[in-house]
Symmetry: C2
Subunit: 215 residues, 2 copies
DNA sequence: TAGATTGTTAATCGATTAACAATC
DNA sequence: TAGATTGTTAATCGATTAACAATC
């Protein structure tokens, strides 16, 4: 039996794609039809070879001397990133961070829709934030199951995160995007993507430090 | 002249450290004095060897048979991540996302303080969000210079991002944490850390997909 | 002591960079 | 055609994983 081609995608590549996309949108807005990997790389401070490798890995093809067709490339990235499809999410925790995520325009623009919010606080029950209704936490598992939601966002304090995760898993999510600092215990079949904004900030800081004190 | 030891830190390591920290805090709360790399790894679904390597790279030492001293390890991570120091930031764009970042409790807990917000909208002028005052955009460069701010957060729409970045650089920031999707053009000495939340979401999605269709 | 666990050295793996032939 | 740019194959680099000796 032939092995599935094992569609290999690398996480660094995925992280760079939004940059390429922004760059291409910019070019498209100026009516540019074709763009070279060198030009893209120049805008983003990257190696042109890396750009070509990334694009090749997602199935884009360019033409020697000409470069890559802008419209075509936008379409390929959009397809690969799944920005055409619509994916529904739910969010637990509608405090500051949760409310911001509910209103974050990047999600709908990229095909992600938060269909419901959940919060422990009874004051928020029935309230609508950015057009999304908030329900009591007890209803979460049931709603996840009924709507076949696959991904849940956790934006509750660290102390409550494990319990919330358990309820999400009971409902049937397969992936959790965890904005709390808690280290979640989940069954192997469930995937947790940890998001720690302070880590990003520290990386930036350390890079500044490196700049200041070169070896 | 001796080379500076070229303190090598790897970005993946930095991304994992908050997880270790959370795990250690949990252990500390239970009164556990020492913990093995295997235990930490088990909680976070990682390889114990990787945990040891990470800890070694930031200068932590354990003892055979015993493991790592919890309190000591917490201190080493805190020191390495710079969570003890206080670092001041400013933010441009006080809309949904900006306001959320201004209220994000993870920052003060980790020694980051947003000292001022800036927004184009005159309605917001003088308004205080989460205790942080908002100023008109025109005052940004001057305030950055006066307070010697080194890092600026950009949470404005993509279209306005470049102009805002230029003003930050005029003021003298050395690092920009860019939450907009715009590909910023900056001088070589300025470092941009791009944050694209939808990229994280796509990575989670792709991992779910991989789970479903194993080769 | 015996066994568990660290610390270190080597092997593997994957991502980035380089070299260069193919081609429009 | 000549030159620029892609696509591909090889080399390098860094991070992860493995093996094992040191040690409490």
């Amino acid at each position: 039996m032939a092995l599935t081609p094992d569609r290999r995608f690398s996480i660094p590549t995925i992280r760079r794609l939004p940059g390429y996309y922004a760059c291409l949108e910019h070019a498209a807005a100026q009516g540019i039809a074709a763009i070279s990997s060198t030009t893209i790389a120049g805008h983003l401070n990257l190696d042109p070879i890396m750009v070509r490798k990334d694009l090749e890995s997602i199935g884009a093809a360019g033409r020697p001397k000409i470069g890559f067709n802008v419209a075509e490339l936008l379409a390929v990235i959009k397809e690969f990133m799944g920005w055409g499809r619509l994916d529904e999410l739910i969010i637990a925790g509608c405090g500051d961070l949760g409310a911001a995520l509910m209103g974050y325009k990047g999600f709908p623009r990229r095909g992600f829709r938060i269909v419901a919010g959940f919060d422990r606080d009874p004051v928020l029950e029935g309230v609508t934030i950015h057009g999304i209704q908030i329900f009591p936490m007890e209803k979460m598992a049931n709603l996840i199951a009924r709507l076949h939601i696959e991904i849940g966002l956790i934006a509750v304090p660290a102390k409550a995160a494990q319990q919330v995760a358990d309820q999400m898993i009971t409902g049937g999510v397969r992936g959790i995007w965890n904005f709390s600092s808690a280290a979640l215990k989940v069954p192997a079949r469930v995937i947790v993507q940890q998001e720690d904004l302070t880590a990003s900030l520290v990386i930036l800081q350390k890079n500044l430090l490196k700049e200041t004190v070169p070896s």
